[in-house]
């Protein structure tokens, strides 16, 4: 690699980078090149963010919208995990099921989750059912794929050892296969959460009457760039929190099984 740099140097450069970024934004916003309606300054976005925490916009405060979004997300995500993980595990254990489901799965994989929006609206309405289906469409494939991988690539020696010692097959499943697929399942859940959250935002932009995405569309319609940007910040923060939570669970599980470090 190119020259190594010290930790302090790298922190300094990082802070410099952030200052450049925010300075450029601030500079463009306060100059006349871009009208401030379209590019508000960072401070204005922050102001709007704090205002939205208390004042209602598009029917609810920002926490209210976030709660509505998060509720849908939780339903869709849990549904995807409850169906996707067992399906993936079964596909990994029973070859016939793998051979039957894989072609269907491959055919559906290329349909972007967002393309399900029209059917979701038609079947489940635009209130809570439709968005849940979109989140499900986004979060389901990684659950299946990672559970499948986890079950398929268990060290065969472990199973052979268990078989040789005469372990009954239900115990092999519970005590060998399941524990060894857990790390793969958890990392699948992390990918799922990210994709599900992103799909939710998309669904709310298109069809919804509440939620952060809806708030942003209303902000866009009212040419309130600060509202749109505050929404982006909120979405980013929730996404980050979700990812960190799942990362933490991943680490706790690894440490418990002595796989840490």
């Amino acid at each position: 690699m190119n020259k190594q740099i010290t930790f302090a140097h790298s922190i300094g450069l990082g802070i410099l980078g952030l200052i450049c970024f925010i300075g450029l934004w601030q500079g463009l916003a306060s100059s006349d090149i871009v009208p401030s309606v379209f590019l508000p300054s960072p401070l204005e976005v922050y102001d709007r963010f704090t205002t939205l925490l208390e004042r209602r916009f598009a029917g609810a405060t920002l926490p209210g919208h976030l709660a509505a979004s998060f509720q849908r997300f939780a339903y869709g995500f849990i549904l995807a995990a409850l169906i996707g993980i067992p399906l993936g595990l079964l596909m990994g254990w029973y070859q016939v099921l793998d051979e039957i489901v894989s072609p269907l799965f491959d055919a559906l994989r290329f349909v972007a989750p967002i393309a399900w929006v029209p059917f979701a609206a038609l079947w489940f309405g635009t209130g809570i059912g439709g968005p849940i289906m979109i989140i499900f469409a986004g979060a389901f494939p990684p659950c299946v794929i990672n559970a499948y991988r986890g079950a398929k690539f268990v060290d065969p020696r472990l199973i052979e050892a268990a078989n040789m010692l005469g372990t009954p097959s239900h115990r092999v499943i519970r005590e060998v296969l399941l524990p060894s697929s857990v790390p793969s399942i958890i990392s699948g859940l992390r990918v799922s959460a990210g994709l599900g959250w992103q799909s939710l935002v998309g669904a709310e932009l298109i069809v919804a009457s509440a939620g952060v995405g809806y708030m942003m569309v209303q902000g866009q319609a009212n040419v309130s760039t600060t509202t749109v940007m505050a929404g982006m910040v909120a979405i980013g923060l929730v996404g980050l929190a979700l990812d960190s939570a799942l990362r933490l669970i991943e680490r706790i599980i690894q440490r418990r099984r002595g796989l840490g470090q």
Binding site: M1, N2, K3, I5, H9, S10, I11, L13, G14, I15, L16, G17, L18, F21, F38, V96, E99, I100, V101, S102, P103, L104, A107, L108, F110, V111, A112, P113, I114, A115, W116, V117, P118, F119, A121, L122, W197, Q198, V201, G202, L205, I206, G213, M216, V217, G219, Q220, V223, T225, V228, M229, G231, M232, V233, I235, G236, L237, G239, L240, D243
Partner: protein, 260 residues
């Protein structure tokens, strides 16, 4: 694996028969909920003949495909060099990484309202969000690819006094190329998702526009045609990228073997 292939065909066949039986034969699924094969076919004829949602099938496919390809290429041209730079220079990495850490958690789809505010409902706004969604994976994977190059290879090139230009084209890019292609595949998928979402939010032409109008008209046959079109386009572009990858990585048998 002939067994795998035959079971696959049998599954698809059973699904098609079920589709026909449930919609047309037994009529369990009403046509207002999901279209029958005949309705889907007539929607396809409608779209490719008279046109729907402002244009015919060719115009919609051309609009969507052009936007994805352009946005994607633009993201490669900007993202791969930035990833190379960040992978190569610790200073550039330290400078740029924090900015990335702030922007990355915001999903590309969340940029759509801002893009519309800035650039309107035309092609420019779509290009912006597609670029954005494809840019991040190409930067990150290129960066990881450079970091994974064997140190001795880099040191040998250095020791032999390779000029900078040749070093980039003959060591950095080839060394990082397996990861670069992994990033490009993720980028391509993200591009399609983003484009469909952006077109659903607002567009004059494109497959997403077809889906949107079909949704408002409660026209299930057309919705299904739109979804199939999205899937075929996504599959086709992924295949094309895979072929490009095979060509580009032909020299590297280990990388190809790892891909299977």
């Amino acid at each position: 694996m002939p067994r795998r292939v035959s079971i696959g065909f049998a599954t698809i066949l059973v699904v098609c028969i079920l589709w026909y039986a449930l919609t047309t034969g037994l009529g369990i699924i009403p046509s207002g909920r999901f279209p029958s094969p005949a309705e889907t076919w007539s929607a396809l004829i409608h779209l490719s003949g008279r046109g729907y949602g402002g244009g015919d099938l060719a115009i919609h496919v051309y609009t969507s495909l052009r936007l994805v390809v352009l946005g994607f290429l633009f993201a490669i041209v900007t993202g791969v060099p930035l990833g190379l730079l960040m992978g190569w220079s610790r200073k550039a990495e330290a400078f740029i990484n924090p900015i990335f850490l702030i922007i990355r958690p915001i999903p590309p789809l969340a940029w759509i309202p801002l893009a519309i505010l800035w650039l309107g409902l035309g092609d420019a706004a779509k290009m912006m969000v597609i670029w954005f969604s494809a840019f991040v994976p190409s930067v990150i994977n290129t960066y990881t690819g450079v970091r994974n190059i064997d140190r001795p290879v880099l040191e040998a090139a250095y020791m032999l006094g390779m000029p900078k230009g040749r070093f980039v084209t003959e060591v950095l890019v080839p060394g990082a190329s397996p990861m670069i292609f992994t990033g490009l595949r993720l980028s391509l998928q993200a591009s399609w998702t983003t484009l469909v979402a952006a077109e659903l939010v607002g567009a004059f032409y494109g497959i997403g526009r077809v889906l949107n109008v079909a949704q408002q008209d409660l026209y299930p046959g057309m919705i299904l045609v739109g979804m199939i079109a999205v899937a075929i386009l996504g599959w086709g572009t992924t295949k094309a990228l895979g072929m490009a990858e095979q060509r580009a990585l032909r020299w590297n048998t280990a990388a190809l073997a790892a891909r299977g």
